[in-house]
Symmetry: C2
Subunit: 328 residues, 2 copies
């Protein structure tokens, strides 16, 4: 059993939180993670009120939270009220200044999770009154700053929190894919983990079977951090953010040649749109992190939670002794 | 006590190996690490025969190994014979194809350590017959490929080794700075760690007090991976390599503007040379990794070894119980 400050604060069994992946983390996945003893977060993403209402309704009766892309939420602030009306277990804010939204969340008595990618962002999250800081390294799939990595960012933020706000909790994120990753994150000073890619590759995720099969075949060298898909989608990400996803013919062609992509945008966008419809992942984007190399099967999310917790406990000397933990 | 396959294979007390940092890891530092129960490696670097002879002579009587920059060693292959004449505890090869040097090392009965930065390089290291694979993430200071991070590369390589060459040992490297990092690397599947930055910041390191004071003041956000110092030093690094070091006025000016730097090389090189002489680290390079944020004092290397091992043992449930390990 891995009892941590996180499991006690949230009344959960395992210190494992589902990353609120845009459209991927719907009610089905979030409730499966919660039912297995973790904490599920619905992915509010760029913000679609109808989708959010439907997923909260589908999750009714199971305790789940919700996450937003902060800069996008700033354009549709009503979405936060919508989420808060459902009494979420937590609200997570990523990618942008959480300060304008911190008061309504905390006034509603809902724990505020703030995702950070650098020590500087962690300082601002503490200033905003985060109850939980999620320190995510650049190995994570999807957007982030990408300049720091989980292995050093987690202890850096752990020391910052211990010094400035010792009651704030800390989740490690980015590359946490199995029990080894959970054990490592706890050893580095986290109170729990936020997991994306491994839950993306489960039966309950809002991801296509074709995309999942593609990811299962990929190894850990197969991803890249790039902005080319934000350019081709005409998304307004702040300049410091880019995203990790599978390398393919499209990234090989345009990554590092962004001005040229800008100049060819109409054609490239048409090619991209057609590839998304056809699920042609040589051109379409497939968002997973470096941990994809450790994903070798598509399983129920509950199995992921239970295996991860059990294996981590053994590695930390908290479970039944097993010879393989350190000795060979 | 952290007994692992590494401590048994090398007859050492703690699974901690000194990174063979060019000129920094001399006899003084390497023997201090070995004397404290780890394994010291002298930094052969770009290859200076006189320096190497002097350091091996100074280390006589203490078991130390030696590391080389492989592509540079290929131009001065006699240096390997020089090292092997001293009966090193190990030879480590980094940055390039180890195959041409593997036979002489192994024929001499000396364990061969191969540093890798990607899963693809790990496959080649196994093909070359490495006794120990050092999986180093991009958070490390100095040169590397920089596309993978410690948190995912270590378990990726652990699985590869288990599948293809289960007797090969694995060191985790890149961001390992304290007992948290050692515990995390072992949890991720390593048999031990290779440590650079934390040993750079010790009393026995070949680093200036002024440089060390600068690094102690830096936080973990303060580094960057760049090629600008290889350009200004006219070093012939293969295209896939760049290096992590402290950000400063020089990197702010030239990083991302490499063609412009090429065009201004004579002036930039003169400015750089003067800054190195003056120890002006606004312009001169100061090579440390992301773990620099956790370095807050300059201590004897033996203290680093002992503290790291003791704290990691506690975190892995191998030492005296301590309340802080997981609970807050």
């Amino acid at each position: 059993m891995l009892t941590t400050r996180l499991t006690r604060a949230f009344g959960i069994e395992h210190p494992i939180v589902l990353a609120p992946m845009d459209l991927v983390s719907g009610a089905r996945l979030a409730t499966a993670v919660t039912a297995a003893g973790g904490l599920g977060l619905i992915g509010g993403g760029y913000g679609d009120a109808e989708w959010l209402k439907r997923e909260f309704a589908a999750a009714a009766g199971t305790r789940v939270g919700c996450g937003f892309i902060t800069w996008s939420l700033a354009r549709r602030p009503g979405l936060l009220d919508l989420a808060l009306e459902h009494g979420p277990a937590a609200v997570m804010l990523s990618f942008g200044d959480p300060a304008p939204f911190a008061d309504p969340v905390r006034s509603a008595g809902v724990p505020l999770l703030c995702q950070v990618h650098t020590l500087e962002q962690a300082r601002r999250a503490l200033d905003a009154g985060a109850d939980v800081v999620v320190a995510q390294g650049g190995e994570a799939g999807g957007h982030g700053v990408g300049t720091r990595s989980t292995f050093t960012l987690v202890p850096d933020v752990a020391d910052l929190v211990a010094d400035r706000s010792p009651d704030t909790l800390l989740l490690g994120a980015g590359g946490v894919t199995d029990g080894r990753g959970l054990a490592a994150a706890l050893a580095l000073g986290a109170d729990g983990v936020l997991v994306g890619t491994r839950f993306w590759a489960t039966q309950e995720a809002g991801a296509s079977a074709r995309a999942q099969a593609h990811a299962v075949a990929a190894d850990g060298d197969a991803t890249v951090r790039t902005s080319v898909y934000d350019i081709v989608r005409r998304y307004d990400w702040p300049a410091e953010y880019n995203g990790r996803l599978l390398r393919n013919r499209f990234t090989d062609r345009w990554h590092g040649r962004e001005p040229e992509l800008d100049a060819h945008l109409p054609q490239a966008a048409a090619e991209f749109g057609a590839a998304v419809s056809a699920e042609d992942f040589d051109v379409a984007h497939l968002i997973v992190g470096e941990g994809v190399g450790l994903v070798r099967d598509i399983v129920p999310a509950g199995d992921v939670v239970r295996r991860m917790a059990r294996d981590a406990a053994v590695r930390l000397g908290r479970g039944a002794p097993r010879k393989a933990a350190l000795s060979g």
